[in-house]
Symmetry: C2
Subunit: 67 residues, 2 copies
Amino acid sequence: MSETRTYIVSGMTCGHCVASVTEEVQELGGIQAVDVVLETGLLTVTAPSVDDDAVRAAVEEAGYQLA
Amino acid sequence: MSETRTYIVSGMTCGHCVASVTEEVQELGGIQAVDVVLETGLLTVTAPSVDDDAVRAAVEEAGYQLA
């Protein structure tokens, strides 16, 4: 069983930004998939249970914000 | 004795870009100082002798171009 949630990240400008967000989210426990699209800011996270607060914290740790 | 040369780097969009350019230029031999300004693209390099071709190669290795 897994759950997929989608967020919008604001402030990413380049591939380095995408890599930073991807890395921070991957460091959350139990993540099965992370996809980040620079052009749209779309962040898609798949895990057994996706924790919005944890995702938000990871995005902020990378230096960005959820829109 | 040292020499300082200034270049313009195009394509940097964020602090990660600045860090990448700084790191690649620092890896050139004998570099005494590197300064990169995101807003203007100004790259200032100080070394006993600054090699334009080497600086250009370092900038390109980081994924950017000299303007």
